[in-house]
Every structure is written in C-alpha cells, then in structure tokens.
Symmetry: C2
C-alpha cells in the first residue's frame, strides 16, 4: 500500500520499544494460555482432538471454574448499581442496609462517581474494623487503608515507591522461589533487583531464616536490599506459615532493616488440620512495641480469592503500618493520578469485610454458601495431594492453603535433551495441553531449584472434573515417562 | 516506644524513596483538593465559614455533581451483577438481551471471572462495530481493541511501551500546553521527556502545525521525540479541532515519524454550533493509504465522560492502528500482568457502544435521557462563557466541547509579589476556596504561557448551582482585584 518511495519504518518496534517491558515474563498468562486459546478456537471450528474441551487449570479463577457467586454479595452490588431496587421487596433488608451505606459514601450517592483516591471512607472504616476483629483487637486505622484495583495494583504501587538507585545502590527486593510471577514481572518492569530466597520443598515449602540470611548476604554484594515479600498462604506452593516462622521473619526484617510486604490474599483459604492463618500485622503487634513501633509492614488483600472468588471486580486493599507520614502523603498522591480504584470493586470489598451478622436475614444463607465453598476446596485440596502422590515420579506437598498444588515431577534426561531451548517442564505442560486439553503452568514460570521440575495446577475445578483432570494427568505422565525412557 | 538503643530509621523516607515518584504532580487532586476535604471536615464539626458547602468544581465527576445515571446502563449492570433478575418482569427485554450477551462472554457466565487480558471478546467486537459506525464504515478490527481501566490506564500503558533510552536518546513525548496532568505525571514517573507545544489561546485554543514544528525542532536538540499526544475535544481548554487541523497533524506525524496518541474521551461532548467531532482514525483513513497504512495511531475512549459520566466504574478502551504486530504481542503480554480490567467497567463500555436501537423497548427513554444530559451541558457551556466574559479581567474562550472552561484571569502585580513561592493562580484559587467554598484547579497545574494565569472549572454543577458559582467567582474576583490594586 506504500505509495511514496521513502521506506517508512514503524516508530515502535521490538527493537525500539522499552526493553524492560520486553523482558517482562508472566507465565500464568504466557505461551501456554495463548496456545490453549488457539486450541479452543480449533475445537470450535471442528478440528479433531483427543479431547472435547480445554480445561484452564492455570489460573485461580473460581467463577470461570463454575463456582457460584455468593448471593448476598451480588444482591448488594445490584442494589448499588440500580438503586431503584431498594424499593423491591425481593431484596433482604440487610443487603439494602449495606447498599444504602455504600451509596451514602459515594459522591451524588452514585457508584458512578469517582471516590477519594484512597477509597471510600466508610469502606476503609469497615476494612479497619474487619482487621481489628480478625487480629483479636489490635487497632487498625482507616487512614492506613488504601483500596486498590485488586492486590496486584497495590503491590506494584508499593514497589514503585521503593525502587530507585543505580548499580550497587539499586533497590533489591527479596521474593520467595517459587513465587507468584507478578513480583518478577513488576521487578523487571521497574528495574528492581530480584533477590531469590528458596522455600524448602522437603519441609513442606517452609521458609527458613537461615536461607533468608544467605540470600540477603549474597545480594548485598551487588544491590541495596530494602524489602522482603512473603506470600502466606503460599502461591503457588500452598503452605501456611506457622506463627513461629512469621515471628522469625519479622525479627529478621527488623535486624536487617527491610520493609515487609505480606501478600495475604488467601487468608480464608486454609484447609489442613492444625494450620491457622496468622496475619503479619497481628504477630508484629504481639511481639511488642520494640517491633510494632518500628517495622514497616504493608499487607495486601483482595476480593478475588478466599470464598468469594470475585476476580473480575478487581477489588483489593492494602494496610500500611509504620510508613513514614511523608511517604504516605506521596503514596496518596501517586494513587490519585489514576483517580480511584473501581468503585464496584470497593463496594464488593465492603461486603467481604462486613458480611451478614447473626440475627440478620441473610446470615444463614450467607454462612451456608461460604462454608460450602471452603469445605469443597478443602476436600479438593486433599484429593489432589493424595492423587498426585500416587503418580509415579510425582512428589506433592500437602495443599495446606491457597488454591494451588505445585507437585515436583520427574522429567527423564532424554526429554530434557529433546526440549530444544524450551524449559523441560514447559515442554511437558505443552504436550499435556496438546494431548488432554488441560492447561497448567510450568514450574519454570514461578522459579524452582535448578534441576527440579514442577507445574502449578489450581484445585478449583468442580470435583468430578478435577477427578478427570487428575486421572488424565496420571495417564499422560505414564505415557510421557515411557516415551522418554 | 523505642526500647533498644539502636536508632531505627525508616526504610522508606522522602529521601530514600523513588525520586521520580516524588516529583510527580497531579493538580486535579493536588493541594487544593486536600484543603477542600479539610474544609468539609471543619464544616461538619461546626466551624463557622462564609459558606455552607464545598463545591468541587475541580474535577469532571458528573454523578458527584448530581447528574443521574442513565437508566438503561444501570439496568444492564444490575442484571449482570445479579442474574436472578433476568427472571424479573420489571426489567426490559433489551436490557436482558445485553446482559445475557455479556454474561455469555464471561467465564462461568459470571462477571466475577477474570476476562481475557485484552477484554471480553464480544465487547471488543461491539466496540469495533461502534467505531465503524461512528467513522462512516471505515473498518475496525476487534483484535486492535484493548479494554482498559479508564482511559488513564491505557495512556500510561502506551507510554510505558514507548519510553526508553538515555540522555539525548531518551524518548520525548509531545503534549499540548495547557494539558491534562495525567500526561505530565506519567512522563515524570516514567522519566520520559515532556515536550511542550502551546495551544493558541487567541485562536480559541487552536493547534498550529508551525508551533508543533518549533517545539519538535527544539526538542530534537536534547531528546528523541517519538510520540505526539492530542486531546480532542480539549481538556482543560474545551476546543474542538477542525478536520483540517487533524489532517495537518497527521501529515506532520507522518513526516516526522511520530506515533499519534489521540485522547478522544470527550467525543460526545460537542456543544458549539458548527463544531463536529472528527476522530483521528476517520481522518487518517480518509487521507488515503499513503497515510492510513503507515501512521501509528492509538486512540482512547472512556466510560467516564460524554453523556454517561460513569467515572467510578473505570471503563475504557484503546484502538491501536498500524502497531507493529510484535509490539502488539508485547502490549498484550504487559496488560496480562494485571490480569484484566474491571469486568463491570467492560460491561458498562459495552452498553455505551451498543445502546438501545429504534424499535427496542428502552430506545425512547434512553434517547431522551442522553439528549437531556447533553442539552443541559450545552446550555451550561454557553452560560459559563458568557458569564465569565462579563467578569472584569477575565477572558474566556467558547466551551466548544468537553466539560471545562479555562478562562484567563488577571492577577495584579501586587498579588504576584505576595504569592510567596506559591504559583499566583494557586494563591488565587486557594483564597477563592477559603472565601467561597468553591474548589477549582489553578492553571499552573495544566501549564500555561509564562505570565498568563488561568483556572480550570468544570461546567457540570446543576444549572442553579452553576449560576451561584459563577456569581460567587465574579464577586470574589472583584474583591481580589480591589485588595491587590
């Protein structure tokens, strides 16, 4: 179509774009998922495959896997969206009460108005009350709560504030390996230095302070470590940290002058007997003022996980503790550039932190629905662990919490040799996808000790489908081991 | 509370934080607004003031100013949030049809599922159809549509892809002065070089290619200019660009090898007789393949403005034209790290691009509501211009479009001398706020020719309140001129 004879070159090409962005990787939605979507298209067009549907077990997307929304949550959201329904007898009074309270907090009583950049004040107050109750009365101030566009947004915002310096003074951020790849992606984009500390697979993905120290000492040779990120319950690893472990981490952070970032989005997802969720905030304050008055802690929560699984609404919050007031002002300024997080997501967060109480009309239904989701997940966590530990070559730690299993798999040397540039576990997962329609994420997308291989699979599929998935993976694995023996 | 004797210093302080973030300024929610919120608190506590309420005319927040949501939009959103309502006879069939179509596009038929990172496919197809219709049949491909968290998110994402290099090769981005400060804030954060081109206040804030060329030539001395941003209709300036002007800009971009970023979020907000909105996409394609096959164009739209004013939902989209396919893949990857934009905002965007059609049950009401909002805005645009041009010392261009007026004001030398470090127009606006409760944004927050002073005021307040605001500003201005004469 070129009509003049000057060769026109694109302004923006792979070579001339921001190379930091080019280097970003995000395996959860990476090449596996692109191929999964292609296969779905092929199936629609009638292409013959050894399976009839693609099962996306790559992502913690509860509703996509058939989990039903919690009735009360959606009633409040519908009331907020269309307040004419406040006159409708079919909606329970407690849902109306919450909707009215949220609308009173909105400009012009509409969730279509921008909120304050930090989030609607009455919702931040509800979040603070929720945290206080969760943490056995330890105070929480709504001035320290920032509502966000999912937890991802808040995590990236904190990293933006932190990362600076050049060369050896460049900010380093400690993240677990395996990690959730939002962290590595954000660090790549912001050019922070990723400092890996390894979770101990042989101790149920436990976190050991000796390993933190090793990792920190090595990192100090080449960068300026300033923050330590913890995911508890773990993603992709599913471990739930003990109170003792959290204490050790806090003591370490204080000694070493590190800001703590606690990703606690799976706080309601604890299944294993004897495991309890302990918030970093609670443990920090129980350790006394020597710690609670100095250690900088930011903790993150989301509407996307737990029993509600409302990923699409992009709701979340962070609580900042001991943040320098001047830095807090800078944080508020920074979030104001994007005006505010989605108000419908804020409203959803409000229902999560302020659910129906005993005596209210929706209490019984709400409690039943919530318990059913969590019981189902607990059962599937157990089922998955047991099933995978019966697969030759697999080793699977208990899924104590969160929504994923991260089994270690055996890849024969012959397969490794033939992987041809691909990570061997990526080759494994790609073959699984082509053979069975099951989409997983290779362990290499999360990081793993060299020479070991894993995949992440969500436990969210409905039980019958999950059983099918577990069987198919076992079958595929047997064939794979045979093909490459 | 410190119990040990080691002086504990915060990890994150003003000095040790990311200094690029520290330098970010965003006047629309800056010090004026912080003070406005304080004053509101003081009023609540019973502090006596010469006024009874704070009027936030600083931001284009339609619902906060009392504009009612469009019924049809909210019906569809309520149906999507709580699909049990699909059985309710009180909801019209066309709203149900749209809700069902959106839900069919969602994983598990729930807007609580993550969408594809680029946005729900059927919504992107509706956006593409809308663009085709708007542009008289010029084709639009849904593969080039990215749904976003408001337009701000998409604009920042594009800037992230673009900005790289060091020193004289650092990416420069041309923005109008006055500008919407999202641009300057994002450029500061991303360390892109801001290249100012001035709109001509004496020609109704017109854009002149000679000025573009002057600005570009000067910038090439110290950076690598790669993109040109245009806001049409203008924010804060309210001008609507002529077709000829857009053609000239496109020709300039092609000659100079610049990627075009067209911020067209006010595309339905055109009031002045003889003014018509021309999209950059349409003009580009009407200029023939010599242009339409080579010039890289990204255009942005939002659910926050126009007749719907649904800011809180954070819906938006961008269309990319002639973007290198490899860069498009990188763009898709980058947005996938944040998983997806809010699905309720995507749903809202769907209703905007696919409103009720003649023959459908909601057509009459929808059309009436939309027309009423736009007619009301047109009337207020005229009222504001006329009123301000009667204020001694003010000069106010016609508000041809968008939602703001940006009058030039006179600040006596004595006031300038006493501003003491503050920008003189900031001092003016602060005094206005303290005296009248009216919150505006000083022109210095948007940029203006040296020695001139302005403020931005939205025309959104209800007519009676707007009249009150206009009167109060005139009174205040008279007193101000007298005080500093």
């Amino acid at each position: 179509m070129q009509t003049n004879n000057v060769a026109q070159v694109n302004v923006l090409t792979l070579e001339t774009m921001n190379q930091n962005v080019r280097q970003v990787e995000y395996a959860v939605r990476g090449p596996m998922v692109l191929r999964a979507v292609q296969i779905e298209e092929e199936l629609k067009k009638g292409v013959k495959k050894p399976f009839t549907e693609v099962i996306k077990a790559n992502v913690g997307d509860a509703h996509a896997m058939g989990q039903k929304p919690i009735t009360f949550i959606r009633q409040v959201l519908a009331l907020c969206a269309y307040p004419a329904l406040l006159e409708d007898d079919k909606f329970p009074e407690d849902a109306k009460l919450r909707a009215r309270r949220i609308l009173d907090g909105c400009g012009g009583q509409s969730i279509g108005a921008y909120s304050a950049s930090q989030g609607i004040e009455c919702i931040r107050k509800d979040v603070a009350s929720y945290i206080e109750k969760r943490d056995g009365g330890i105070p929480s101030n709504h001035e320290n709560i920032y509502l966000s566009t999912g937890a991802s947004d808040a995590i990236v915002t904190m990293l933006k504030l932190l990362i600076c310096g050049e060369g050896r003074t460049r900010t380093g951020v400690m993240i677990s390996i395996p990690q959730y790849p939002l962290y590595s992606a954000a660090l790549t984009e912001l050019q922070g230095v990723q400092i890996n500390y390894y979770l101990d697979e042989d101790k149920c993905w436990g976190l050991d302070v000796g390993e933190l120290r090793r990792s920190l000492t090595a990192a100090r040779e080449h960068c300026n470590p300033r923050a330590l990120c913890i995911i508890n319950p773990g993603n992709p690893t599913g471990q739930v940290q003990s109170r003792q472990c959290i204490e050790d981490v806090i003591r370490f952070a204080k000694e070493e002058g590190l800001l703590l970032m606690a990703d606690e989005v799976y706080q309601d997802n604890v299944y294993a007997e004897g495991c309890v969720f302990h918030s970093f905030k609670k443990v920090l304050f129980e350790m006394g003022p020597e710690f609670s008055s100095v250690v900088e802690l930011v903790s993150f929560h989301s509407t996307s996980k737990c029993y509600m699984g409302e990923c699409g609404f992009r709701g979340g919050y962070m609580e900042v503790v001991n943040l320098d007031p001047e830095v807090k002002a800078q944080l508020t300024k920074l979030v104001s550039v994007r005006l505010c997080s989605p108000v419908s997501g804020q409203a959803l967060m409000d229902v999560v932190v302020n659910p129906p109480q005993p005596g209210e009309p929706s209490y019984a239904t709400f409690t039943k629905e919530r318990a059913a989701v969590l019981a189902d997940l607990a059962e599937k966590a157990k089922l998955t662990e047991e099933s995978f530990n019966n697969v030759p070559g697999f080793h699977c730690n208990p899924v104590q919490g969160a929504m994923y299993t991260f089994p270690r798999i055996t890849i024969p040397q012959k397969a490794i040799d033939q992987a041809a540039g691909q990570a061997p576990d990526q080759m494994y997962c790609m073959k699984l996808l082509e053979t069975t329609g099951i989409c997983l994420v290779p362990g290499s997308g999360f990081g793993q000790r060299e020479g070991t291989f894993h995949f992440r699979m969500t436990i969210l599929p409905p039980k019958e489908k999950l059983k099918y998935v577990l069987e198919k993976i076992a079958e595929f694995n047997a064939q794979f081991l045979q093909d490459y023996s």
